[in-house]
């Protein structure tokens, strides 16, 4: 019972916990509770009309579909980037490693206008593509891929570094090909971290606003995302409607947060067991 002992020796427990709870309550919990209470002032029919109109349903499809696609792209390439950074040497590796975090540091509005300039019909990249990217749902996928890029790399990288070489040697000695070793030995060890990174990238992409609105074109029913619906309802002073859509997003986001915590717990157990 080291904790109980520490409680008697170390000072400041009540002050620190009290302050932390007060601050958490004032900044996060009470405002979030206000959102749910506001949504409850709506009748069920009004709530349903706000969250399930065809235009809003189209935004759910785009937001979750594009976020899912972006997270899948990041899972594949994030695993590859983590692998290359951990296992191989090449010139400029440390710089590349440091720059992987750029999407975490770069303001989303900057990412949005830069990607739009590149993927527009006359942009550096857009002019060589046979199909339109900017101002289509594909542009949304590009933006969400950018902002989710570091998640998979940064969750898989430490696990890959901790992975012992001897299991791979054992597999090779027992006659496994390199591909078989990857598929049967390495990949299962990375899978929990990969899944965690994937879910984080997905959760982040679902709520993203700044980078998407520039590249999406925001055409109703085609390239409009759910956070934009909240903004446009607010601009029309439809606070109750905006709140209703927000509550739907909040519930889905909290479910994702719960899933991430469960995955991490599972992944942590896997790493300790390994």
């Amino acid at each position: 019972m080291a904790g109980t002992g520490a409680r008697y020796v170390l000072p400041g427990f009540r002050l620190a916990l009290g302050y932390a709870l007060l601050y958490l309550g004032l900044i996060v919990l009470i405002p979030l509770a206000a959102t749910f209470l506001k949504a409850f002032t709506l009748s069920w029919d009004a709530f349903w009309a706000a969250v399930a109109s065809p235009r809003v349903l189209a935004t759910y499809r785009l937001t979750f579909g594009a976020a899912l696609l972006g997270a899948v792209i990041n899972a594949v390439f994030g695993l590859l980037v983590a692998w290359v950074l951990v296992r191989y040497a090449f010139p400029g590796k440390r710089l590349v490693d440091a720059l992987v975090d750029l999407p975490f540091a770069l303001p989303t509005a900057v990412a949005g206008i830069a990607l739009t300039a590149l993927y527009a019909g006359n942009g550096w990249i857009g002019q060589y593509l046979p199909f339109k990217v900017a101002f289509t749902p594909l542009g949304v996928v590009v933006a969400l891929t950018f902002i989710g890029l570091p998640f998979v790399v940064r969750t898989v990288q430490p696990v890959l570094e901790d992975l012992e070489h001897d299991v791979e040697e054992a597999a090779a000695v027992l006659g496994a090909s390199r591909w078989q070793t990857f598929r049967r030995v390495i990949f299962p060890a990375l899978a929990p971290a990969l899944l965690t990174g994937f879910t984080m990238a997905f959760a982040r992409a679902v709520g993203e606003y700044g980078s998407v609105i520039f590249i999406a074109g925001n055409v109703p029913m085609v390239s409009e995302i759910t956070p934009l619906i909240i903004i446009s309802k607010l601009e029309q002073y439809d606070y109750a409607g905006a709140t209703a859509v927000a509550v739907v997003m909040l519930v889905l986001s909290f479910a994702l947060l719960l899933l991430i915590n469960l995955l991490q717990w599972w992944s942590g157990r896997r790493r300790i067991a390994a």
């Binding site: 904790g3 020796v9 170390l10 000072p11 400041g12 427990f13 620190a16 916990l17 932390a20 900044i27 996060v28 919990l29 405002p31 979030l32 959102t35 506001k38 390439f77 590859l80 980037v81 692998w83 191989y88 040497a89 090449f90 720059l99 975090d101 975490f104 540091a105 770069l106 303001p107 989303t108 509005a109 900057v110 206008i113 830069a114 590149l118 550096w124 940064r154 430490p158 070489h165 040697e169 390199r178 965690t196 984080m200 709520g207 993203e208 700044g210 520039f214 956070p227 909240i230 903004i231 607010l234 927000a246 909040l250 947060l257 991490q264 717990w265 992944s267 942590g268 157990r269 300790i272």
Partner: protein
């Protein structure tokens, strides 16, 4: 451009891939990063300087841009210390003591990461807006929160809320309580213990959290956009100023302001990389929600701006 194999020569025969496979994988990974990371980074500066240095400079020194830069720094200068004090207090309670509901508290601290920035702005509109809980009271006393600077600061505090706490909790948990207990037993006061023992132990983790928090605070867009009201020269932060210029088709000026934000982001990345080298953690940058069991202490959060 020779490819070197990292593992010892004897091992390499069986536990690495043929040269051509390595080169292909490196090429594909770098091509992906080039397309999605390096080219967008270059594009910001190329577009900003397209019309020459004169236009670039003029876009940065005009009064509205200067006001936006000042407001951006102000929001960060208030939000970061607030979240710093909270982060230290929360980490002290969670890492050094046992109490019921600890894991619930840890999860609640992460909540702002799971909330869309737009909703982060919306919640304050519902509390402080004209039709919100305190709206009538604020109007009576001639106070403005929404569409004014306090709202921008509040929204910034919300979106950067977890950064420093999540950085410190695993670090302080790993350090245990022995050193602090020794200080107290030897007669140090609470403050002496904090300044002489705790703070020196957590300084790099603290700085790391401050860097991530500052980067996000200066770059926040969605949450600030909802509560700002977009009044030029008054309630526009630099990211919002970029949006206005861009929507007016003033691309050179928009990218000039964007390039300032990009340079700030690169400075943050450089400091972050320096701290990682200092603390000899090869990869202290794990994404948010990475403090669960089995996670390495000192690993950091980075949520995008």
């Amino acid at each position: 451009m020779s490819t070197v194999i990292l593992s010892p020569p004897l091992v390499s025969e069986t536990t690495t891939e043929p040269r051509w496979v390595q080169r292909t994988l490196i090429a594909v990974a770098l091509a992906f990063l080039t397309l999605f990371l390096f080219v967008p980074l270059l594009a910001v500066f190329a577009e900003a300087l397209k019309k020459g240095l004169g236009v670039y400079w003029a876009a940065l020194v005009e009064p509205d841009a200067r006001a936006a830069i000042q407001l951006t720094f102000l929001a960060a200068a208030v939000a970061v210390p607030f979240n710093l004090v909270f982060g230290v207090a929360a980490a002290w309670a969670i890492a050094k003591f046992e109490f019921r509901g600890k894991s619930v508290l840890t999860t609640l601290i992460d909540l702002p990461f799971a909330v869309s920035p737009v909703i982060a702005g919306l919640v304050y509109v519902l509390v402080f807006g004209a039709h919100g809980w305190f709206g009538p009271w604020l109007a009576e006393h001639d106070l403005k929160v929404i569409f004014a600077v306090p709202g921008i600061v509040l929204a910034t505090v919300f979106v950067t809320f977890p950064f420093i706490a999540r950085e410190l909790i695993p670090l302080m948990q790993a350090q245990g309580t022995e050193e602090e207990e020794a200080a107290i037993v030897l007669g140090a006061s609470g403050w002496q213990m904090f300044w002489r023992v705790t703070l020196p132990n957590i300084k790099w983790g603290l700085l790391y959290g401050v860097i991530l928090c500052t980067a996000r605070a200066m770059g926040e867009f969605g949450a600030v956009s909802v509560v700002s009201g977009h009044i030029r020269g008054l309630t526009n932060t630099l990211p919002l100023h970029v949006e206005i210029l861009y929507n007016e088709y003033n691309f050179a000026a928009a990218f000039a302001c964007a390039s300032v934000l990009t340079l700030l982001a690169l400075v943050m990345l450089a400091v972050k990389t320096f701290i990682e080298w200092q603390t000899r953690h090869p990869h202290p940058a794990a994404p948010p929600a990475a403090t669960a069991a089995g996670d390495t202490p000192g690993r950091a959060v980075g949520d995008p701006a």
